[in-house]
């Protein structure tokens, strides 16, 4: 007993991120889960790259079909993420996407948020980052939303005097 506890403790202190748990699933299911088709993978990659902010969710931003998806959209709204920089994919309309995205991201739940092609997290993480201020920083650094002017006489003066070509 004591040795069991000790070994559990030892292996945990390193917090190995590689799977140590043995997966007990039917072989076919395990196989299906491990290998999403190359076609699915590249379709998802294309979706991930389609916009600076990409959300895989249940429902649509206007009509979310799940509280967690709704929360993520509301948080992005709070940060004034412009619609043209946000792409949302409804996994309920595409069962291949619904299953594929979990393996693609190695993340078991929906919604999933990507910023600039990088996986950020699900609802818990996005909410936590919103509360800590990290989300705002990430969105600003990714040029999704603009940084607040730090002071009047900042280096921005030169760039604002140049009118954006339209």
């Amino acid at each position: 007993m004591a040795s069991m506890l000790r070994s559990a403790f030892r292996s945990s202190s390193a917090l190995r991120l590689q799977a140590s748990s043995v997966v007990t699933m039917s072989p076919t299911l395990a196989l299906a889960r491990r290998f999403i088709s190359e076609q699915t993978r590249s379709a998802i990659q294309k979706a991930v790259d389609s916009s600076p902010v990409v959300v895989f969710m249940k429902g649509t931003p206007d009509v979310p079909q799940c509280g967690f998806s709704r929360a993520v959209i509301q948080i992005l709204d709070l940060h004034n993420v412009p619609p043209e920089k946000l792409a949302a994919f409804n996994v309920l309309e595409d069962s291949e996407l619904r299953n594929g995205i979990k393996e693609f991201s190695d993340w078991p739940t929906i919604p999933q948020v990507y910023v600039k092609g990088e996986f950020v997290g699900g609802c818990d993480i996005v909410l936590g980052m919103h509360q800590s201020g990290e989300l705002e920083t990430l969105l600003q650094n990714s040029d999704v939303i603009s940084k607040p002017p730090t002071s009047d006489a900042d280096s921005d003066a030169s760039s604002t005097s140049t009118p954006a070509s339209s």
Partner: protein, 87 residues
């Protein structure tokens, strides 16, 4: 198949040293929705994404059977700060 609270607790406690663990059944008893709070020194030096990935992996089989799963992960120090803020 519903996931039992004991399963979740065992899976976590046998893998990492746990300073505090809360498992909340948010499903009104059907066993498909859980929210957990894990406080562990094993999270020291790991960012939130890495911590969540670790827990997701630990509970892979259980989460696959759930409808909803939500988690909060803290180091003991962060948890103290969290409690202080709540008070």
């Amino acid at each position: 198949m519903p996931v039992s609270l004991d399963n979740l607790e065992n899976a976590i406690r046998t893998s990492i040293p746990v300073a505090h663990l809360e498992i909340i059944d948010t499903s009104n008893g059907c066993g498909e929705n859980y929210a957990i709070i894990v406080v562990s020194e094993a999270f020291e030096g790991k960012n939130t994404l890495a911590r969540h990935r670790y827990i997701n992996d630990l509970l892979k089989d259980e989460i696959a059977q759930m409808h909803a799963f939500s988690q909060k992960t803290f180091t003991p120090k962060q948890y103290d700060a969290f409690l202080a803020k709540q008070a």
